[in-house]
Homo-oligomer: 540 residues x 2
Amino acid sequence: MQSTMMHMPLMINQILERANQIFGNREIVSRRPDKSLHRTTYGALYRRSRQLAAALVEAGIRPGDRVATLMWNHAFHLEAYFGIPAAGAVLHTLNLRLAPDDIAYIINDAQDRILLVDDILVPLMEKFKPMVKLERIIVVPTSGARVPEGYDNYEQFIERDASAYRYPEFDENAACGMCYTSGTTGRPKGVVYSHRSTVLHALGVALPDCLDLSVTDAVLAVTPMFHANSWGVPYAAAMVGANQVYPAQHMGAADLLDLMESEQVTLAMGVPTIWLTIQQALEAESMRWKLKKGIRMMVGGSAAPPAMIAAFEKHDLSIKHGWGMTELSPVGTLSWLKPEHATLPAEEQYGIRALQGIPLPLVELRIMGDDGPMSWDGKSVGELQARGPWVTGGYYNSPTDPDKFTPDGWLRTGDVASINPAGYMRISDRTKDLIKSGGEWISSVDIENAIMGHPAVAEAAVIAVKHPKWDERPLAAVVLKPGSEASIEELRKHLEAHFAKWQIPDDWAFIDAIPRTSTGKFLKTRLRDDFKSWVSRTPG
Amino acid sequence: MQSTMMHMPLMINQILERANQIFGNREIVSRRPDKSLHRTTYGALYRRSRQLAAALVEAGIRPGDRVATLMWNHAFHLEAYFGIPAAGAVLHTLNLRLAPDDIAYIINDAQDRILLVDDILVPLMEKFKPMVKLERIIVVPTSGARVPEGYDNYEQFIERDASAYRYPEFDENAACGMCYTSGTTGRPKGVVYSHRSTVLHALGVALPDCLDLSVTDAVLAVTPMFHANSWGVPYAAAMVGANQVYPAQHMGAADLLDLMESEQVTLAMGVPTIWLTIQQALEAESMRWKLKKGIRMMVGGSAAPPAMIAAFEKHDLSIKHGWGMTELSPVGTLSWLKPEHATLPAEEQYGIRALQGIPLPLVELRIMGDDGPMSWDGKSVGELQARGPWVTGGYYNSPTDPDKFTPDGWLRTGDVASINPAGYMRISDRTKDLIKSGGEWISSVDIENAIMGHPAVAEAAVIAVKHPKWDERPLAAVVLKPGSEASIEELRKHLEAHFAKWQIPDDWAFIDAIPRTSTGKFLKTRLRDDFKSWVSRTPG
C-alpha cells in the first residue's frame, strides 16, 4: 500500500529558497585577505548563487557536470556551495593543502570542466594548471586587486538578472557535491554526495543534542570548506537561518578570537589543534576578549582529550566532541550527556564528553570482530563499521573495494573502536595506529590523551617503534608549552595513575611540533618515518 | 551523475532500533484508568512492539494491511505506533470521539483487518461492532480487569520471544499509518502517511527552533494519539530518547498538573482549550504544583491568543504556537522569535509568538489570490496552500478533488492567511469563518482573540449572523470566567483599541460553553445552528 504523501524530493535548492524567504536579512561575515570584514546576507547569497547557476548553465554546464573550487572559507565559497548545485552541477571542493600534482590528479579524475579560484590562490593554481584539462578558470576577486590577464573575472561571469532562473529538475539522488579523501594509501578517491544525503545530514546535525543549530546562532566554521563540506555547517546553518562567520586563511588564535568577539559567535567548529592554540591564547590573555557566554566548540578530526574539555570549561566555553569522515558527509557521532549523567562529578562528565559519542539519528554503527558483530559492552574492540543515508557506499569511478566495504553493505571505517551499553562509541585507534607489545595491544590514542592532560604539555603523539623482544613498543613524541618544563620521569609518573606499567612508554622524544596532515590531524606516517631507525629502550 | 551514497530507506524501524540501543532505560509513563501510573522503558517498548509485529505477521497480516486502534494516549498505544509498522502494516488510529456509525464507516472504508481496543472502550466498540467487518478484535487489558468473553487478550496475543524477528523489507514510500480527517463537509477521508514522511516529520519537528526535542526532555502529549499522530511526538521523542508522558483519558487540569509535577515534564502539547483550564487552575492555586522551570507548552489546533501567552509567562511557562492539519502529518508551522525580536517589548513579542509561525524546513507555503501567488507582505490575504514531503497529495481511495488540490500539486488548506516579510504566517480564518459585512471582510479569529484578552473572559467565538442591510454581521458568543462579570459595553470598549467601529460586534451572547469538535476545536457549525434565526441588531 502506497501512502498519499506528495513525492517531494529533498533538494539543496529548498534550503536556499528558505534562507532567502525567511532569513533574508541574516548575515554571512567573512574575512578578506587583508583581514577586513566582508558582510553579506542570505538575501544577497540567494541572488548571487542563482546568478552563478544561470551563468554556469549559459556556459554549457549540464546536470551532473563537475565544477571545482579552490577557495578559502568565505561567502564566495558559500555561493559556490549553493550556486553549483542550483545549476544541477556537482560542487567539487579541492583541498588547497595538497601537493599540486595531487590536485591535478584529482581534477583529472573528476573530469572537472570549470574551476573557481580565489585570486590569492592563482599562484598555487598555476602550479597545477599545465597538468589539467579545464575548459575555463574563473578567478574570484576576493582581495580587490585586478584579476590577472587570461582568466575570467567571477564578478563579470555572474553579472546578470537571474530572478527568473529556474532550477533544473532531477532526482534527489543526483550528485550535488564531491570530495576526495586524503587516504594514506593509494591515490585519493572521490566521495559523491547527493541532494538527499546533504539535506538529511543538515537535518541530523542541526538537532538539539547534536549541534543544536538555531536562528539565534552565529557559527564560525574553521573547518575548511574544501574538506567534507565543512562538517555540513554551510547547509545546516542556512536551513535554520543562523549567521555564518568565515575566517578565510586567517586561522591564528588571535584572529579567530577577534572574530568570535566581534560577531558574537555562539558555535565554532574545528580540529583540536586549532582549539589548543585558542586555549593557550586565552590562558595568556583571558581578559582580552569579551566572548559570548557558553560558546559551543565542536571538535572533530581527531580526539579532544578530557583535559582540553576541562580547560575550556574554566573560560565558560563548552567543547563538544564528534567523529566523522569524508565518507560520512562527514558527521557520524557527537557526544552529549544524558540526564543520568547530570549528577556525576565534573571529571566523569568530561570523560563521557571526550568519547566520540552517540551515532546521529539514521546513522548505524557496529563493531565487527572476527566472529561477527560484537557486543556494545564498552570493552569489546573491533573494526568500526557504518551505514546510513549519508554514508558512502563506494567511491567515484572505482570498483567496489572489499577493504572498504563489507559484502552486506557497511562501510569499513578503518577505525578500531568499542561502544558502551549507553551507545557511546570510543575509538581506540586507527587500525595501523595500534601498538602490539608482547602480544598485547596498546592504544596510542589513550596514552596521547593522558600525556596531553599534563599541564606542561602542548601536544603529544604516540607511535610504535621496534623492539627486539616485545616486537613493538610505544614512543611518545612530546611538544612542551613555551616556557614549560617536564622530565621523562615526571611524565611517566603522570601516566601511572591510568596505565599498567607495561603500557607506559620508555621511549620519549621532545620535539618542536607534531607533523600534521593538510586537514590539521597528526600525521603519524611522517612521525613513523622520522623514528623508523629508533630501537626501543625497554629492557628485554 | 549519481552519488556514491548508500541507498538507505528512511524507516520507522530505525527509530525503534535507536530508542532501544541508545535510550533503552529512558521512560514512558502513562496513567492507568484508575489514575495510577504505569512505567515502562524504551527497552521494554522495543521488545513488546516487536512481539506485536511478530504476532500480527503470524495472524496473517501482510505488508500494507490496515490494523486499527481504538485507544487512549498511553504506552500500549505507543507499542501499536511502532509494532504495527514493524510488521509492515498500517497503523489506523480511530477517533474515539466520533459517533459509532462514523467510526464504522471509517473502518469499512479503510478495510481494517484487526482492531486493538482498550478494555475500557469495549462498550463504545460494541456500538459499532455490528456495522463493521473485522477479522479479529484484540482487547488491551489496561485496567487490570478480566478481558470480556469472546475477545482476544492483547497480552496473550503478543506473548512470545520475538528477539529474532526480522522486519519485512519494503520501500520508504510504503504506508505506515493512516488517519481520517474530521471534515465538516462530506464523509471523512483517509490521509495515508509513509515511513519516509514520518521520519522526515520527526526530524523537522525536533529541530531547536521547532519543538527543540532532546534526550533531556520529558514530553507530555495531551494531543490525542488517535488524531494525526499526536503531532508526531511519539516518533520524534523516541528518536531523541526523550521521556514520554501520557495522560490516557485523564485530561482535567489538576490531573495534568499532577503529571507535569511528578514526571518533571519539560514540554507539553495540547489545544488551547486544555491550556485555558490549566491557566485557570494555576491562577486559582499557583502554589499547589512545583513544576519544572521554563516548561514549553505547544499549542495548536486553533489559535492561542497573545493574552494566553502573556498569562502563562507569569508562571514561567512558555507557550509555543503552531499550525498543522492531519494532511500535514500534522505540523506545518511553529512560531519562534528571531534575534532581531529579542529587544522588542514583551507585548510585541507575544504578538509575534501568537502568529501561526514559520514553515518548518521542507514545508513550502504560498498565499493564493485570484491572480496567482500573493506577496509575503503581511497584508495580502488569500488561500493558504502547502507542499512538502510530509504533506498529503490526495486521500485514500478518493479521486483527486480540485477543491483540495491545485493543478500544480499544492494542498489547498481551506485556511485564509497572510505571510509577513519575515516569513510568519497568520491565519485570518477558515474560508467559511470569514464574515462579509457590507462588502468588507471581518476576521472572526481576530475578534475572538481580542475578546479573550479581556480578564473576565474564559472563551469566545465569533460567527456571522444575518443582517438585512449589511448581509452579515459578527456575533460574539462569550463564556465568562467563574465569578467574573463584564458588560457588553465594557467588552465593546475593550475592542475599540484594536478594531474599526464597523468591525466590532453589536450582537453578544453570554453562554455556558463553546461547543467543540471531537479534537477540542470550537465547533462553529453547531454555534451557527444555535443562532441561525438570530437577526443582527446593528442599525441599518
